[in-house]
C-alpha cells in the first residue's frame, strides 16, 4: 500500500515537473503537408464562447454571427475576411448614382436546407420583416430602406436617404434571408441556404455541421465540422496536444511555444476588429466629465504593455481599428507620458482620485493589472470590480453606473456608437454626430471614409474613451488543415474553404 501511495505521489510530482517544463511532449504525428484533402474529413474547431440559443433573428451576440452567418445563413451579399463586399445569394448588384436605389439579381436554383426553393418573395419578406420588427437584431440598420420589391429575379431596395453603410449591413445579420413562413424552431435549429447544415447542438459541449450536398455554390471540402466549446485556454491546449481538436481559435499567443513544440500546429496571428475599449463615464458630475482628466488617464496608460502582455495585437489610439474604413494612426493624440498626465491632473485640480473599473470576469486579469499600476503611477487609485457579463450589462450598459469600464467590442464598423449620445459611452458631441451623418449620406466610398476619419480624430482628441489595443485573431491550425480563415475569426468564421488531409 505504501508503495502505491509513493507511486502516486511520484506520478503527481512528475506531472508537475512536466507542466512546468511546458508540456513539450505529445503523440507523434508525421507532418502531412503534401497530402490531398479528404472529402470525408471531420474537422474539430475549438471555440470559446457558446451561444445561449441559435435564434439569429432575435438573439444578439458575436457567438451566433461567428458560426451561423456565411456557413448556414446567407444574405444577398457577403464579406471576405479582408472585409471586401462580394456577391452571395445575389449574383450581382447595381447602385443608382443618387444612392437611393439598390438592384440585386437573385441567383436561381438556390434551395434551403429543408429542400424548399429560395424565391424572390422570401427575400422581400425577410428584409421587410427585419426592417419592421424592432425585436429582431439589427433591424435599425435597415432604417433608411423604404421598400423592398421583386420583379422576376430582380430585387430592388429603395431608400429614403443615401446610406453608405447599407451594403455592409446587408452582409451581416440585417441581410439574412430566411424562408417565409418557416416553422423551424430557430432557438435550437436552423434552415438556411449556406454550404453547411446544422446537424446537432449539444448544449454546453459542441455544435456539429454537415456539408450541404445540395448547396448552390462550390460544396464544402469537409463532410463535417464540429465546434467544441472549450473556454479555458489550458484545457484547449491539452485537447490539441492530445489530438482531440484540429484548430484552436481565440487562443493565447503566450502559449505559442507550447502549441508549436510538437510541430503539429502552427500559430497564426490575423488582424481583427476587436477593440479593447476603455469607456469613461463622462456624465455631468463625474470627475471624468473634465477632458483633461480623461486625457491624463489616456496618457498615463502604456499601450505597448498590453500588446506585449497579450503577445499579439497592435496599439490603437482612436475608435476605428486598422481593418475598418476611416482608420488613421492617432498615436500622436495621446502618447504615453506619465509626466504630462500628472500635470494635466494638477491643472484640472484633481487630487487623490479613486475610480472603479467594471470589467466582465472572462477577460484576462492582465488588463486590470496593467491599468491599476499605470494609473497608480500618476496618483489615481483604481479599484477593480470584476463582474459577470449580465451584471456588466445591467450596471454599465443599462444603468451607466460606472467610472471606467472595459469591454472588447468585436464588431466591425461600429463607429456609430460614438455618434450616439444615448450609448453607454456617454459621449455627446454634435460635431461628431454631424460628421457621422454626413459620412452615411455620402455616395462616394472615399468621401465616406474621410468623413469617418475626421470624426474619429475628434473622438480621440476629446478623449471620449481609450482604446487599449486592437486584438489579433490568434488561431492555432493543425498542419493537415488548409483554408482556415485567420482574420477577424471572433466575429465571422467562413468555413467554405476549410479542408483536411489525413495523410
Amino acid at each position: 500500500m505504501l508503495r502505491r501511495t509513493a507511486l502516486a505521489a511520484t506520478a503527481l510530482l512528475a506531472a508537475g515537473a512536466l507542466l512546468l517544463s511546458a508540456c513539450s511532449s505529445g503523440a507523434d504525428q508525421a507532418p502531412t503537408t503534401s497530402a490531398a484533402p479528404d472529402p470525408d474529413a471531420s474537422v474539430a474547431i475549438r471555440l470559446v464562447l457558446e451561444p445561449e440559443n441559435l435564434d439569429i433573428r432575435q438573439t444578439a451576440g458575436a457567438a451566433l454571427d461567428q458560426i451561423l452567418v456565411d456557413n448556414v445563413y446567407q444574405g444577398l451579399v457577403a464579406r471576405t475576411p479582408e472585409q471586401e463586399i462580394v456577391p452571395s445569394l445575389a449574383s450581382d448588384w447595381t447602385v443608382s448614382p443618387d444612392g437611393l436605389t439598390y438592384t440585386f439579381t437573385l441567383r436561381e436554383g438556390v434551395t434551403f436546407h429543408d429542400g424548399q426553393a429560395l424565391t424572390p418573395q422570401d427575400v422581400v419578406w425577410s428584409l421587410e420583416t427585419r426592417r419592421a420588427t424592432p425585436a429582431w437584431s439589427d433591424s435599425a440598420r435597415l432604417a433608411n430602406v423604404t421598400s423592398v420589391t421583386a420583379e422576376g429575379q430582380e430585387i430592388t431596395l429603395t431608400l429614403a436617404a443615401p446610406d453608405s453603410s447599407l451594403l455592409w449591413n446587408l452582409t451581416g445579420r440585417a441581410g439574412i434571408i430566411l424562408k417565409e413562413g418557416d416553422t423551424v424552431d430557430y432557438s435550437t435549429a436552423a434552415n438556411g441556404t449556406g454550404p453547411f447544415t446544422l446537424d446537432d447542438w449539444r448544449q454546453g459541449a459542441s455544435i456539429t455541421y454537415l456539408r450541404n450536398d445540395a448547396y448552390w455554390g462550390e460544396p464544402a471540402q469537409v463532410a463535417e465540422v464540429v465546434f467544441d466549446y472549450i473556454p479555458d485556454n489550458q484545457a484547449a491546449l491539452n485537447a490539441a496536444l492530445a489530438g482531440e481538436v484540429d484548430v484552436l481559435t481565440g487562443f493565447d499567443a503566450n502559449l505559442k511555444e507550447q502549441i508549436e513544440a510538437d510541430g503539429d500546429f502552427a500559430l497564426v496571428l490575423g488582424q481583427s476588429t476587436d477593440k479593447g475599449t476603455l469607456a469613461f463615464n463622462q456624465s455631468a458630475g463625474s470627475p471624468l466629465a473634465d477632458q483633461r482628466v480623461r486625457q491624463a488617464i489616456r496618457q498615463a496608460i502604456d499601450h505597448d504593455a498590453f500588446v506585449e502582455a497579450l503577445a499579439s495585437g497592435e496599439t490603437q489610439y482612436g475608435p476605428i481599428p486598422s481593418l475598418d474604413p476611416g482608420y488613421e494612426d492617432l498615436a500622436d493624440v495621446a502618447p504615453y507620458d506619465p509626466e504630462a498626465a500628472r500635470a494635466l491632473l494638477e491643472e484640472a485640480g484633481v487630487e487623490d482620485l479613486t475610480l472603479t473599473l467594471k470589467i466582465p470576469n472572462f477577460y484576462s486579469t492582465t488588463i486590470p493589472q496593467i491599468l491599476v499600476s499605470n494609473l497608480n503611477e500618476v496618483g489615481i487609485t483604481l479599484e477593480v470590480d470584476s463582474v459577470d457579463f449580465s451584471t456588466w450589462l445591467n450596471d454599465v450598459y443599462v444603468n451607466r453606473d460606472y467610472d471606467l469600464s472595459f469591454v472588447l467590442h468585436t464588431e466591425a464598423r461600429d463607429f456609430e456608437n460614438w455618434a450616439n449620445p444615448d450609448y453607454y459611452f456617454t459621449y455627446d458631441n454634435p460635431e461628431v454626430q454631424e460628421l457621422y451623418a454626413e459620412s452615411l449620406a455620402a455616395t462616394d466610398e472615399g468621401e465616406a471614409a474621410q468623413l469617418l476619419a475626421d470624426a474619429a480624430r475628434i473622438v480621440s482628441e476629446d478623449a471620449a474613451g481609450d482604446w487599449l489595443y486592437t486584438g489579433a485573431s490568434v488561431v492555432a491550425v493543425g498542419d493537415n488543415i488548409t483554408g482556415m480563415p485567420s482574420i477577424n475569426v471572433n466575429e465571422r468564421l467562413n468555413l467554405a474553404e476549410l479542408a483536411k488531409s489525413n495523410g
Binding site: A9, L18, Q203, I230, Q234, N238, F389
Partner: protein
C-alpha cells in the same frame, strides 16, 4: 419507526418548500436579466422591455413565484427562457454525464479510502501508517483543479491513454468511449474526496478500537485486529454511511468545477451557464431538483441509520 418516518418525511417536504423560496429570492438578487442578454449591446430600452414582457419578466415577484411553484406541484419544473427546452428533459440529458461521474467518483473514493483508512489506523505509530496518514492529508489539501490538470497532463497529453476533455457526441451509445471520457474527471474528484474520507475512516476506526465491546472481544481471546474487524468495523461502517450522505453534496459541488475543467456537458456546467445567462426559471428548477436530491439522500441515510443502529431505536 412509522411515526419517525412520517415526521422525517414532513421535515423533508418543509425543507423543500423553504428551499424553493430561498432559491427563488436569492436568484432575484442577481443584477441583470436574460432580456438584456438576448437584446445585446446594440439594443434600445424599448427592445429590452418588449423581450421582458414576452418572457413574463415584467410580472411581480410573488406572481412569478406562485406560477413557478404551481407548475412544480403539477410536475412541471419549468422551461428555459432561451431555448424553450424543459428543465426535466435537460436534466435527464445532462444527468447521463453527471450521475455516472458521481457514482464513479464515489466508488473510487470508497474503494481506496475505506481499506487504506482502516489500515492506517491499525498501523498507527508505525512508519507505513504515518505515511498513509500524511499522504491522505496532503491529497485532501490538493485543489481539485490542479489534481485534474496533473492527471490530464500525465494520462492524456503525455501517455495518450485517455481523452483530455469532452464527452463523446454519441454519448452512452458508445459505452466504452463514454466511460473513458469520465475516468479522469472521476479520478480527480474520487482522489480528493477519497482522501478526506480516508482521514475520517481512520479516526472512526481509532475510535472503534477504544470501544468497550471491541476491548471485550480482545479480552475474550481475539487479537486486537480481529476484534476490531469483527466488532469495531460495523460501527465504522455506520459512520461512513453518514459521511457518504454528506459527501454527495460535496460531489455535486466537485462536479460543477470538474465539468468546467473537462468541458463535460453535465448538470454542473449547465447550471453555471444558465446562471450566467440569467435563465432563472431553468436555474430554479435545476437547483430545486439538486436540493431535493441532497435532502432525500439525508432522509435515506437517517432511516438506514435507525434500522442498523439499535441504540437509536432504544433511545426513541
Amino acid at each position: 419507526m412509522i411515526r419517525y418516518t412520517l415526521t422525517r418525511l414532513a421535515l423533508l417536504l418543509l425543507g423543500l418548500l423553504v428551499a424553493s423560496v430561498l432559491i427563488f429570492l436569492s436568484l432575484r438578487v442577481l443584477p441583470g436579466d436574460v432580456a438584456q442578454l438576448i437584446a445585446g449591446t446594440n439594443s434600445t430600452p424599448e427592445q429590452i422591455a418588449a423581450i421582458r414582457e414576452r418572457l413574463g419578466l415584467d410580472q411581480p415577484l410573488p406572481a412569478q413565484y406562485l406560477e413557478w411553484i404551481g407548475g412544480v406541484l403539477r410536475g412541471e419544473l419549468g422551461t428555459s427562457l432561451l431555448t424553450g427546452s424543459t428543465v426535466a428533459s435537460e436534466l435527464a440529458e445532462k444527468a447521463q454525464v453527471t450521475v455516472p461521474l458521481g457514482v464513479m467518483a464515489l466508488t473510487i473514493a470508497v474503494v481506496f479510502s475505506v481499506p487504506l483508512g482502516v489500515l492506517s489506523a491499525m498501523r498507527r505509530g508505525r512508519a507505513d501508517g504515518t505515511a498513509l496518514s500524511v499522504g491522505a492529508q496532503t491529497l485532501a489539501a490538493v485543489p481539485v483543479v490542479w489534481a485534474g490538470m496533473m492527471l490530464v497532463v500525465v494520462f492524456a497529453v503525455w501517455l495518450g491513454w485517455l481523452p483530455a476533455q469532452g464527452f463523446p457526441r454519441a454519448g452512452w451509445q458508445d459505452p466504452w468511449a463514454a466511460f473513458r471520457a469520465l475516468i479522469l474527471p472521476a479520478l480527480t474528484i474520487g482522489i480528493v474526496e477519497g482522501a478526506m474520507l480516508m482521514r475520517f475512516v481512520r479516526s472512526a476506526t481509532l475510535q472503534a478500537v477504544g470501544q468497550d465491546h471491541v476491548r471485550t472481544g480482545a479480552a475474550k481471546g481475539l487479537t486486537r485486529n480481529a476484534a476490531l474487524i469483527r466488532h469495531g468495523l460495523p460501527d465504522v461502517g455506520l459512520s461512513v454511511i453518514t459521511v457518504l450522505g454528506l459527501q454527495v453534496a460535496g460531489i455535486i459541488v466537485g462536479a460543477v468545477i470538474i465539468e468546467q475543467l473537462f468541458t463535460l456537458p453535465g448538470i454542473g456546467r449547465m447550471l453555471v451557464a444558465d446562471v450566467s445567462a440569467r435563465d432563472l426559471p431553468k436555474v430554479q428548477g435545476e437547483l430545486l431538483v439538486l436540493t431535493g436530491f441532497v435532502l432525500v439522500v439525508g432522509f435515506v441515510v437517517d432511516l438506514v441509520h435507525r434500522v442498523i443502529d439499535p441504540r437509536q431505536r432504544e433511545a426513541a
